[in-house]
Subunit: 294 residues, 2 copies
């Protein structure tokens, strides 16, 4: 389970985190000190469960939940607060929270409730999977496991052996931005615009410098992918990865050139052309395709 904590009291956040880690209940993938600051990261990381305080400056718990739901967030909420007014507890339940825990925090209580919520989540998920595979059994269409955009991208990058390259995270974020924000899937914005919005999203101080850095990271990452795919091809050009990625993502001449060089054991001799645009565009289209089919 992946948790996100929203609470203006840092001591509470610490305690909750400790309870989750100690109880091996899952991962805390982020935290924020008020509703306003939590919106963007929650929408981009999509935690399974959000632990949220009721009383917070700027945006209170209920408003935050409303906002997240209106943006399509489907995770579960557990509210943790010291409210005594029972009307508000009722309100919170009406908004669809899973449970309301009263402060002060009690370790056993929180652990039990989180375990229960997680169990419920898994139970529902299992039943859903069964239901879907039964449905696809009748329509003869293979059932796909649901994934978010980040996961789809990561799978592909991992196939290309560049999961750990610095630029991989840039690629992931770029595709996320494109999938979530690009209204017309048939158009593709210029790379400069993409670099610029990514730089802004990363809160870079000097946007221009960051754009340059992004470009170089991407170039080097994609170059690594080319070399990797070419090496795969020189061992076994019938492999799934080679057949899929080599012709789609890269300039085929470049791959061929590299394969010949690899075969003759002379490395990094000639220069290779890196087509960043083609790579990102293909990646985007493929991700979009499999995302839509979910």
């Amino acid at each position: 389970m992946r948790y996100y904590i929203v609470d203006d009291d840092s001591a509470s956040r610490m305690m909750l985190k400790k309870i989750i880690v100690d109880g091996e209940l899952g991962l805390v993938i982020g935290e924020a000190e008020n509703g306003e600051k939590s919106i963007a990261p929650i929408l981009s990381t999509l935690p399974d469960i959000v632990l949220i305080d009721f009383l917070m400056p700027d945006l209170d718990g209920i408003e935050t939940i409303e906002k997240l739901k209106s943006q399509g967030f489907e995770g579960q909420f557990i509210m943790i607060s010291q409210i005594v007014n029972k009307e508000m507890v009722g309100e919170a339940y009406k908004k669809g929270i899973e449970f309301f825990i009263h402060k002060p925090i009690n370790k056993v209580e929180v652990q039990t409730i989180l375990q229960k919520t997680a169990e419920q989540y898994r139970l529902r998920d299992s039943l859903l999977t069964i239901k879907e595979s039964l449905a696809s059994f009748t329509t003869a269409k293979p059932a796909l496991k649901k994934q978010n955009v980040g996961e789809i991208v990561r799978t592909k990058l991992s196939d290309m052996g560049i999961m750990s390259e610095v630029g991989s995270n840039d690629l992931k974020e770029i595709i996320e931005m494109l999938v979530y924000k690009n209204n017309e899937p048939n158009t593709f914005p210029p790379l400069i615009d993409i670099y610029e919005s990514l730089a802004k999203r990363q809160n870079a101080e000097d946007i221009k410098k960051e754009m340059k850095a992004i470009e170089q990271r991407l170039r080097r990452t994609i170059l690594a992918a080319i070399q990797h795919i070419a090496t795969i091809g020189s061992i076994d050009y019938t492999s799934r990865e080679f057949e899929h990625y080599a012709p789609r993502y890269f300039e085929y001449q470049e791959i061929r050139k590299l394969m010949i060089e690899v075969g003759e054991n002379r490395l990094n001799s000639s220069k290779i052309k890196v087509n960043i645009k083609k790579f990102i565009q293909v990646l985007y289209l493929e991700v979009l395709e499999s995302y839509k089919n979910i």
Copy 2:
């Protein structure tokens, strides 16, 4: 659902009853004003869910639950009380109650929680049925066992044939540290920082020396992994281990170089590049992926 209510306050009993009837949540099959008087009827009518007050004369809520469980009653308990002392809430959860609801009673809250409990009950039941019907034709059941981070790492390291290397323990500890402490899963700290925190964690006397030692242990361990995977590959490059680990964890060119050498039976001739960073980063991301599904 069949409910039984135990509460010394008749007004509370009335309200709960009304909530259950109004919300069409099920049937109230009996009630009692204290623990003592409830034991016999509960054991004879076996309700699915018992709503029980904490503070009651004669026999309090927790004692009643203990007594019923010791007599073999397997229904679920929901405690409803106006207790403020959080220790007692913890105690109640330890005794195995499903939920603790704070008085005064709020209609929406009680309804939501009863619905949830009922849903959980039905979900478990459905899954149990499915599992049993599946068991009739699957002999060996895979038993999706809950794993902790250490176990996931160990599985992968043993796939790569380096379980007994000295550096394996370092690897395990590094991944544990990263999974539990890294707040932003998208970023990856520099290796130097990782070495440093690991050295500190191991209470080394001379941190700098220990960092150097860690680095060498890791290098040698990963080199062993490369050689192991290359050997597998030179025998059968379609094997599961080779296909998975070779392209993701290592520089594929290096694997290729080694495979050719192994094939020609000339050993340890050329030097192999060891990419520690890539290895750890991929290991971390993969562990994270499988851990969050817990």
